[in-house]
């Protein structure tokens, strides 16, 4: 018991570990490119709405024009990103995180 590191030392040790660095890298490699992507997609939508009115007001079926479809596509892309992120987290991130967590808790129990 007395040779056990204090909790904060344990956390620092985990932070320095290779496993944790890998987990962080995986998370960031997903989150940052995805953020740039959806932001550019949304910016495209807004800029086209502002400056390409001819293109956006082209009718496709009855009263539905390109602008409305484009807006609905934003909905679709948001749901897809959320769904894909939840799959990615469950498959790649959670196993590593659970393992690190279990390793941390082990000596105490």
């Amino acid at each position: 018991m007395t040779t056990e590191a204090t909790p904060s030392e344990k956390y620092l040790e985990v932070q320095r570990s290779e496993e944790f660095a890998g987990l962080r890298r995986k998370l960031r490699n997903f989150v940052f490119p995805m953020t740039v992507a959806f932001f550019l997609w949304y910016a495209l939508y807004v800029l086209l709405s502002a400056y390409a009115r001819g293109f956006m007001s082209a009718k496709i079926v009855g009263h539905i024009n390109v602008a409305l479809l484009f807006g609905l596509l934003q909905f679709v892309s948001t749901f897809l990103i959320a769904w894909y992120y939840s799959r990615y987290a469950a498959k790649e991130l959670d196993p590593i995180a659970d393992k690190i967590n279990a390793d941390l808790k082990e000596p105490r129990s």
Binding site: S49, Q74, T78
Partner: protein, 144 residues
């Protein structure tokens, strides 16, 4: 537009509105009192004791978003400004992704309940205190 609004508030419709409002408040209070009997720790209060599944939590957040801002505000904006109102509401939607990817994941396992708590947890508390007091926005729940 203004004349339409003036016609709507006859005395009978006002009675109906107020009655519905009071019923709604009564139901909400009843649920709150019932829930408060089972709330013992801070985790129970802020995070439902962490006993909600992801789907249930998602429904709760959805309820948050589909508030008066959506049903009244967006509907009104689209009625008044047409496509511009629609464009405005897409902004709400995409902003939720920012909260999901850039905020929620990084806060998830900190064990803290509000943004202010997380910042205090991660940084030195004193220099943070003053700007936090001035920024009400940072008190929003890290709803994770």
């Amino acid at each position: 537009m203004i004349s339409l609004a003036a016609e709507a508030t006859t005395s009978t419709s006002r009675t109906l509105t107020i009655t519905l409002f009071l019923i709604f408040v009564a139901i909400t209070l009843a649920i709150t009192i019932w829930a408060s009997r089972q709330t013992k720790t801070a985790t129970d209060f802020y995070a439902g004791g962490r006993q909600f599944s992801g789907f249930q939590n998602g429904l709760a957040i959805g309820g948050d978003y589909m508030s008066a801002a959506s049903f009244l505000g967006i509907a009104g904006l689209i009625a008044l400004y047409g496509y511009d109102g629609f464009l405005y509401s897409i902004g709400f939607l995409v902003a939720w992704l920012v909260a999901l990817l850039l905020v929620a994941e990084f806060l998830r396992n900190s064990g803290r309940y509000t943004m202010a708590d997380v910042l205090a947890f991660r940084m030195r508390q004193r220099p943070l205190f003053v700007p936090l007091l001035r920024s009400p926005r940072l008190w929003f729940r890290s709803s994770t």
